[in-house]
């Protein structure tokens, strides 16, 4: 039963990944990350993604704090945060998040505060969705590793 479990879990992972690629949530760069993971660095993808989560949440907080300022005018600073967010999203293959950043940056360059606020809402939404899906992916992977690691007692 457990051996089948491991296979089914692998299928679940593939299906989830395929969905995320189809939706454009992830792109080819995520595959590149997976290729960098091996026995010498078995947790590489989750390590990198956790750094991404940590940095992204900081950036999102900064962006929101900026836009909530009553006399907000520092679009340049916002641009810097956005460039960082764009860069790191690119680096892990977070395609949709990156695209929202691009639109956000455009609004920022036009000093369009309302547009920026809308973009921020969308960005937070996309980021949330990505984070949930990646957590799901890692959970399935963890279960699969556990299931695959269980050995059957040898029958005499």
């Amino acid at each position: 039963m457990l051996v089948l479990g491991a296979d089914r879990l692998r299928a679940d992972m593939s299906r989830l990944l395929a969905l995320l690629f189809h939706q454009g949530v992830l792109d080819e760069q995520f595959l590149q990350l997976q290729q960098l993971q091996d026995e010498s660095s078995p947790n590489f993808v989750s390590e990198v993604v956790n750094i991404y989560f940590h940095e992204s949440e900081k950036l999102l907080r900064n962006l929101r704090a900026l836009l909530m300022e009553r006399d907000f005018s520092d679009y340049k600073k916002m641009g810097i945060h956005l460039n960082q967010f764009m860069g790191s999203s690119s680096s892990i293959g977070a395609n949709r998040v990156r695209n929202v950043c691009v639109a956000f940056r455009a609004a920022s360059e036009q000093n369009n505060r309302a547009g920026c606020l809308r973009a921020l809402e969308l960005l937070e939404h996309e980021y949330c969705y990505l984070k949930n899906k990646l957590h799901e992916l890692f959970q399935i992977e963890q279960q699969r590793v556990l299931a695959a690691g269980v050995r059957y007692p040898v029958q005499n």
Binding site: Q29, Q32, L33, Q35, L36, D38, S41, F44, E47, V48, I51, Y52, E55, N83, Q84, M86, G87, S88, S90, S91, I92, G93
Partner: protein, 216 residues
């Protein structure tokens, strides 16, 4: 001639202010079997390379090893362009202006595709300009730059060693004369050989270096 050093891995210094990108480039380099050191700023990079913010004027010691100013040899520097404080371009300039560091190949990375930026960096002496996210195919291109520099350095060492040997020769005018005659003979032989080769070249297929293919 430092045979032990010849067998060791190439050592790459990676500079990026973004932790995520540092992790990525480090992994890409390690998986390519390079020794890696990462730093998060241009000034830390210079510190690691043994150069302070102000340029060091290297003394005129005719040393065989070019690395007597730092303990660890660095074979290539790969740096992000956009960094607070000292940009990758500033770092590139400082390296090329330094007599002790200018021979180290430098590669620039950037998440933005700005042609004028790329041109500026290449003109300043960068070997390559990689667009982020950096891929393993990009990293595969680094080896040829490091090999080329290594061979240039080895050639330099041989030339310097020969010069030193020349200077320490006992004064025997006969042997010097003989050596000169031998050298003249050799160079005229070389000229003859060249002429013959050129005569043959239309029939020979020379291997072409395809800029697309990577040299391993």
């Amino acid at each position: 001639m430092g045979m032990a050093a010849a067998e060791s891995q190439f050592h790459v210094l990676a500079v990026d202010d973004c932790l995520l990108d540092r992790k990525l480039i480090e992994r890409l380099l390690k998986i390519s079997s390079y020794q890696v050191t990462t730093v998060d700023s241009g000034s830390k990079a210079l510190e690691f390379l043994g150069l302070q913010e102000h340029d060091q004027i290297s003394s005129n010691t005719p040393s065989v090893s070019p690395n007597n100013q730092r303990e660890v040899e660095v074979n290539l520097i790969i740096t992000d362009y956009c960094m607070p404080g000292m940009t990758g371009y500033d770092l590139l300039k400082k390296i090329k202006e330094s007599s002790s560091l200018r021979n180290i190949p430098v590669v620039i990375m950037s998440s933005e595709d700005v042609p004028s930026r790329i041109t500026r960096c290449l003109e300043e002496g960068a070997e390559e300009f990689f667009l982020k996210p950096v891929k393993i195919t990009d990293v595969n291109r680094l080896k040829s730059h490091m090999m080329r520099t290594k061979m240039m350095n080895q050639k330099q060492e041989i030339i310097q060693k020969n010069q030193q040997l020349e200077e320490h020769k006992p004064e025997e005018s006969d042997s010097q004369l003989l050596q000169q005659q031998q050298q003249q003979q050799q160079s005229s032989n070389n000229n003859k050989r060249k002429a013959v080769e050129e005569g043959l070249s239309p029939d020979r297929t020379r291997p072409r270096y395809n800029s697309i293919s990577t040299m391993v």
